[in-house]
Amino acid sequence: PLGPASSLPPSFLLKCLEQVRKIQAEGEVLQERLCAAHKLCHPEELVLLGHSLGISQAPLGSCFSQALELVNCLRQLHSGLFLYQGLLQALAGISPEVAPTLDWLQLDIADFATNVWQQMEDMRVAPPGHPTQGPMPTFTSAFQRRAGGVLVASNLQRFLEPVYRVLRYLAQT
């Protein structure tokens, strides 16, 4: 069950909230650029492609169970961020119009993941050893990288909304 929410320092929660908003804003820019430059504006048109490419969504169950399991929630948050770092890296070479935004997004997600990992270390609940990245999709054409970008960006936004709600809940309790 939930350790005392106050075991998370307020400044850590405030920074996390800011980092989520920063990543959400960057993610929207990525989606806008993919739409403007390549007419790929609707992730729902690419679900089938997403299946065949193996682009998965990161689980966040522990953050929503009735009794918020704080440690597992932090661990799932970190693994989700780690997954998105990997997915964004796999999109390298996406297209000149989009590449700068992709780079900023990767850096912001990496910063956020480091912040969460260090908080877990400070609380002595960090999983042993550093996480290793699972198999990543391979994109065999410019189109697949751009379509992959649309899917990853939309999955990331859907991942961050609940994260933001949990962090805000923790910051207010």
């Binding site: 390549h38 007419k39 790929l40 048109e45 690419l46 089938l48 492609l49 299946h51 065949s52 054409s141």
Partner: protein, 308 residues
């Protein structure tokens, strides 16, 4: 592979037709292979796909866009999955024209930057990424034979001028030069020029100065003006001839010209002018007798003739 588009040609001439095929492999398990493959050009469904089953069980649809009128367009191969239209693959079609022939190529030797600067007209936009290169070669005669090539001068993106640094030039040897334009649909060459770089030198104008008071040996005569000028330093080694033009600051007066002012003396007495009148003077110089380009006119100098 769940949907792979193949194109007859990704870059075509505007208005030409383009044919594309999209194959959905039979190992694409999560797909209902019987459903119809659909095509979208930009965001419009494009009818006319001809679909057939291939010997290995995969499905292939072929489509021909008769006259592509987009310079850039996205062609997507789609399939209905449930009731949502899914994009399986997408390619970018580009259409335009072969590069027009660059024209009005002109060059001049700039002694300040010590480089040969050439500019040209690129001609109408061919709608395709087109690379311009200024090509040149050294030569002994009238550039009939193409001897040792000088460097390829690549202009900044979108610019129609390029400058060849001094170290690649032999100023007093003839060289041939032209512009090459190249894109996916072809290559064109501009007209060739043949010159010694030094014969295209464009001087900077001299600097005009009033001679106040006019030199002792020639006190200011009514209706006369004494003029002194400083030649442009980097051009001192070049024998030049200069022209002086002047006009009274009176209504619609036109310029009067003093051709071939002796350039060595650096001062000149101008007479026959209206008394008590303000005159605007300008000067320009050109390499002479060897060939060159006239400098621009110098900034104006305003002098007043004395009373009668």
């Amino acid at each position: 592979e769940c949907g792979r588009i193949r194109l007859s040609d990704p870059i075509i001439r505007l208005g030409d037709s383009v044919t594309a095929s999209c194959i959905i492999g039979r190992n694409c398990s999560h797909l209902d292979l019987e459903s119809e493959i659909l095509w979208k050009l930009e965001s419009e469904l494009h009818p006319g796909g001809r679909q057939k089953r291939l010997p290995d069980g995969s499905q292939e649809s072929t489509i021909t866009v008769p006259h592509l009128n987009y310079t850039q367009a996205h062609l997507s191969c789609c399939l209905y999955w449930g009731n949502s239209l899914q994009i399986l693959d997408q390619v970018e079609l580009q259409a335009g024209y072969p590069p027009p022939v660059p024209y009005n190529l002109s060059c001049f030797m700039n002694l300040t930057t010590n480089s040969l600067i050439c500019q040209w007209e690129p001609g109408p936009d061919p709608y395709l990424p087109t690379n311009f290169t200024l090509k040149s070669f050294k030569n002994r005669g009238k550039c009939q034979t193409q001897e040792e090539p000088i460097l390829d001068c690549v202009p900044e993106a979108g610019k129609s001028h390029c400058s060849i640094p001094r170290k690649h030039l032999q100023l007093y040897q003839s060289m041939g030069i032209w512009v090459q334009a190249e894109n996916a649909l072809g290559t064109t060459l501009s007209q060739k020029l043949c010159f010694d770089p030094m014969d295209l030198v464009k001087l900077e104008p001299p600097t005009l100065e009033a001679l106040n008071p006019s030199p002792v040996e020639a006190p200011a005569q009514p209706g006369c003006l004494w003029l002194h000028w400083e030649p442009w330093k980097p051009g001192l080694f070049i024998t030049q001839k200069c022209e002086l033009r002047y006009q009274p600051q009176l209504g619609e007066a036109s310029w009067a010209l003093v051709a071939s002012v002796p350039s060595k003396t650096h001062h000149h007495e101008l007479c026959g002018l209206l008394p008590a009148t303000a005159y605007t003077l300008q000067m320009r110089c050109i390499r002479s007798p060897l060939p060159g380009y006239w400098s621009d006119w110098s900034p104006s100098l305003v002098l007043n003739t004395t009373e009668r």
